[in-house]
C-alpha cells in the first residue's frame, strides 16, 4: 500500500484548496447572469445573483414549487454537496482495481459514515454478486459442514452494532514525513457504520466446532479470493457475519451480500463478499498475513497478526480543507477511536504539545466506534500547532510520532496511530506538519 513512491507531477495545491470556496469572480459572473424568476427552482438557484435570495428579498425557492416525491426514488445529496465524495491517491497503486479510496472526514458530522462515503479497499475490484446465487460455506473441523443461503442467514437472530472500520495503512503514507495537505488523505481510510448481522459464534455453534478447532479461515468470493486467519477467541467473542449497514443491505463496495466484521481489528480481516469459513487447528499464513499486513521492524524482523487498531484521533475542524476565516469563536472538533474499547478522554493542545486541555466527548461514546470530541476556542489570530491525544479505557495513551518511530522505525507501513499536528497560520489556513 503505502510505497512511498513520489509522483512525478507537481500540482499547485493551494489553488485547489480554495477551489470550493466561491471565488469573487464567480460571484460577479452570477450577478451579471440572466434572472429566471419563474423557472424551475433548481435553475433559478444557480442563475440568480446571490443577494436576491437574502433578506429582505424573498428567496426564489419560497416563490416556486420544488420537485415531487419519488423524483429521486433513492435519494441523493443536494447538488451543492457534490464535493463530498470519496477520493483516491492515484500514485499509491498501479491501478484502481487493487487500490483504496478515502472517506471525506472533513465534511462528516456525528459518528456515522453515510454508506456512499465509506472508504473502499479492493484487491481485485468489487464483484457484482447476485445474492440468490451466493452461498456461505462452513467446513473443516466441524461436526456438520453447512451451506447457508442469504435467506438462511437472515433467519438467525440478528444484532446491530456501531463500530468503526479502518484500514491499518491509514496514515501510513506519512511515516517518513508529512506528505498530504488534506485530512481526507492523511486519515480517510476509516469509516463508522451501524452493522447488522448474525454473530459468528451462532453459526459456529450451528456447525459444531470440534475441540481441535482453534482458527477460522475467512475467504472472499472476489477475484482476489481474499483470505485471512482469525483466531477462535475473536470468532467467539464479537465477530459478526454482516449483511446490512446503516439500515440497508451492504453496498457492493462493502461486501454485498455478506461480509465478516471484526470490531476494532484491521479492516482487511473483515473479509468482504464472504463465501467460506474453514475451521482449522493452525493459521494459514496466506499472502494477506505474510507478504502484506505484517509490520517490518528496524531489526529486519516482522510482527505478524497485528490485528488491533490502537487508539488514535485527529482534529477534523479546522483542517487543511476547513480553514478558519476571521478571528473569533470556534469549536475545535475531531474524532477519536480505539480498537480496544471505549475512548475515555481526549486532550487538545494548541502549542504543539507543551500544554494540553481536556476536550469534551460529545454524543454517543461507544466501544470500538468513532467518538466526537470538541473544545470551544476563541481565536485571536495567533499561529498555533494543533494536536489531539486520545486515551482509551485500557489506559493506553496515543503516542507521539517520535515514540512510534523509536520502536518501529519508518518501514512498518501499517498501524501509524501517532498524534497528528496541524499548523494553524495567522491567516487561518492549516498546513499538515510533523514535529521533531
Amino acid at each position: 500500500m503505502a510505497d512511498s513512491k513520489k509522483p512525478e507531477t507537481s500540482k499547485e495545491y493551494l489553488a485547489e484548496l480554495t477551489a470550493h470556496v466561491p471565488p469573487t469572480s464567480r460571484r460577479d459572473f452570477l450577478k451579471k447572469g440572466v434572472k429566471f424568476s419563474t423557472s424551475l427552482a433548481a435553475v433559478a438557484a444557480t442563475s440568480e445573483a446571490l443577494s436576491d435570495n437574502l433578506p429582505p428579498h424573498v428567496s426564489s425557492w419560497s416563490k416556486s414549487l420544488g420537485t415531487g416525491v419519488v423524483s429521486t426514488p433513492y435519494g441523493v445529496p443536494s447538488k451543492f454537496e457534490e464535493n463530498v465524495i470519496r477520493r483516491t491517491v492515484p500514485w499509491l497503486t498501479a491501478d484502481k482495481i487493487s487500490s483504496i479510496s478515502m472517506s471525506p472526514l472533513q465534511e462528516l458530522k456525528g459518528i456515522i459514515t453515510p454508506n456512499g462515503l465509506v472508504f473502499e479497499r479492493y484487491h481485485a475490484g468489487a464483484p457484482a454478486i447476485n445474492p440468490a446465487q451466493h452461498r456461505l460455506m462452513i467446513h473443516g473441523l466441524v461436526d456438520n459442514p453447512l451451506i447457508f443461503t442469504m435467506d438462511d442467514l437472515m433467519r438467525f437472530p440478528s444484532e446491530s452494532v456501531i463500530n468503526f472500520l479502518e484500514c491499518p495503512a491509514n496514515g501510513g503514507m506519512e511515516w517518513r514525513g508529512p506528505q498530504m495537505e488534506a485530512l481526507q488523505f492523511t486519515h480517510g481510510m476509516i469509516s463508522c457504520c451501524e452493522w447488522t448481522g448474525v454473530r459468528l459464534s451462532t453459526l459456529l455453534a450451528e456447525a459444531g466446532v470440534q475441540s481441535k478447532g482453534k482458527w477460522v479461515l475467512a475467504e472472499g468470493a472476489d477475484g482476489a479470493g481474499m483470505s485471512r486467519s482469525i483466531p477462535m477467541n475473536k470468532a467467539l467473542d464479537d465477530a459478526l457475519i454482516v449483511y446490512a449497514q446503516n439500515g440497508e443491505k451492504l453496498r457492493p463496495e462493502q461486501g454485498y451480500p455478506v461480509r465478516l466484521f471484526n470490531p476494532g481489528w484491521e479492516g482487511n480481516t473483515s473479509v468482504k463478499w464472504l463465501r467460506r469459513l474453514k475451521i482449522g487447528d493452525k493459521p494459514w499464513h496466506h499472502r494477506e498475513e505474510t507478504s502484506k499486513y505484517t509490520d517490518l521492524m528496524p531489526d529486519g524482523r516482522s510482527r505478524r497478526f497485528t490485528y488491533e487498531q490502537e487508539a488514535n484521533s485527529v482534529i477534523t475542524s479546522p483542517c487543511p480543507e476547513n480553514p478558519w476565516g476571521q478571528k473569533g469563536s470556534y469549536e475545535i472538533e475531531g474524532i477519536a477511536w480505539s480498537g480496544r474499547g471505549k475512548i475515555k478522554q481526549v486532550d487538545v493542545s494548541i502549542d504543539g504539545g507543551v500544554t494540553w486541555r481536556p476536550a469534551k466527548l460529545k454524543g454517543l461514546v461507544l466501544t470500538k466506534a468513532l467518538t466526537r470530541f470538541c473544545l470551544p476556542f476563541k481565536w485571536d489570530g495567533s499561529p498555533g500547532l494543533l494536536q489531539s491525544r486520545a486515551i482509551d479505557e485500557t489506559g493506553y495513551v496515543q503516542p507521539t510520532l517520535s515514540q512510534l518511530r523509536n520502536v518501529r522505525g519508518t518501514n512498518s507501513i501499517y498501524h501509524k496511530n501517532s498524534i497528528h499536528t496541524w499548523q494553524l497560520q495567522s491567516n487561518g489556513k492549516i498546513k499538515n506538519v510533523q514535529l521533531k
Partner: protein, 310 residues
Amino acid sequence: MYSLNRILIVFALTAIPLLAVTSFAAETGRYGIGKTATIEEIAGWDIDIRPDGKGLPKGKGSVLQGEEAYEAQCASCHGLFGEGEGRWPPLAGGEDSLTEDRPKKTVGSYWPYASTLWDYINRAMPFSAPQSLTPDEVYAITAYVLYLNDLVEKGFVLTQDNLASIEMPNVNNFYADDRPDTNNERCMKNCKDPRNIEVIQSLRGITPDQKKTTAEENPAKSKLSEAAIEGKATYTTSCLVCHASGVAGAPSLDNKDDWAKRLEQGMDTLVKRAIKGFMGESGIMPPKGGNMSLTDEQVSNAVQYMVEAE
C-alpha cells in the same frame, strides 16, 4: 371471568411443549438452519493451502515448464526476471535488504512460506483471470518464481510432496504481535520545551486534485457503437489492467496515434490477435488478455470499445 381463565389455562397448556422445543434449540445452538455441505460442494471451493502442505492437490511442475507459462502469463506485469514492470509488484530480488533504508520485500527476501506462493497464485493470479490455472500449472509457475529467487535449481520439479520442505530464508523472522509498544503519559503542563519544537513541512505538490472528476462519468454524449458499449464491461474487467496505462508495452487507450497505426492492419487482424494472443515489437498480448473464459464475441466487442473510446 371464569371463561377467560379457562382460555388462559388452555393456552398455557398448549404453550408449554412449544416453549420447551425452542429453548432446547437455543441451548444447543442448533436452529436447524442451512443445509449439509456435500463432499463435492466442499471440494470445489476448498482451495486453501497451509505451510505444512495441507490442502495441496496432486500434481507437479518443473522450473522449465514454469518458465514458459510465466513468460506468457505473468511477465507482462511482474517482469521477465520478477523485477516488476512499472508499479506492478516485483516477485524477486531484495535479499538482505530488510534492514536497509528502502527494504525490498519480495517472495525471496520476505515471504516466510512457499505454500503461500502456491496458494496465492492459485487463488488470485494472473490478475485478470484468477482461478484459471490448473494445479500442474500452479506447481510449475511456483517452481519458476522460486527459481527466480535462487531458492531452487533449474532442474527442480515441484510436487505436493516436496513443497512443504522448501525452507524460505526469512521464515524465522516473524513474531506475534507484542503491542502496546509505546508508553506515552498523560502530561498536561510543561510537557516539553517549546524552544525545541522543530516543524517539518509537508512535501509540496503530491496531494491529489480534489475537484470532482465528472469527465468520464458523463454518459450523456456517448458516441459509441452498440458493440463498443457491449465491450466496455469486458474491457474493464479483463483488458484495462494493461491497456489503461500501457503496462509492459500494451498500447494505452489514449494513445490515438499508436491505435491509428495498428488499425491500418484492419479490424479483423486486431480482433484475431486479441483472441489468439500476439507478440509484437512492444510486448506480449496474452490470448484473450489471459481470461480464457471470455467468448470470442466478448473479446471482439472489447476491441471495438478500445478502438472507439476517447
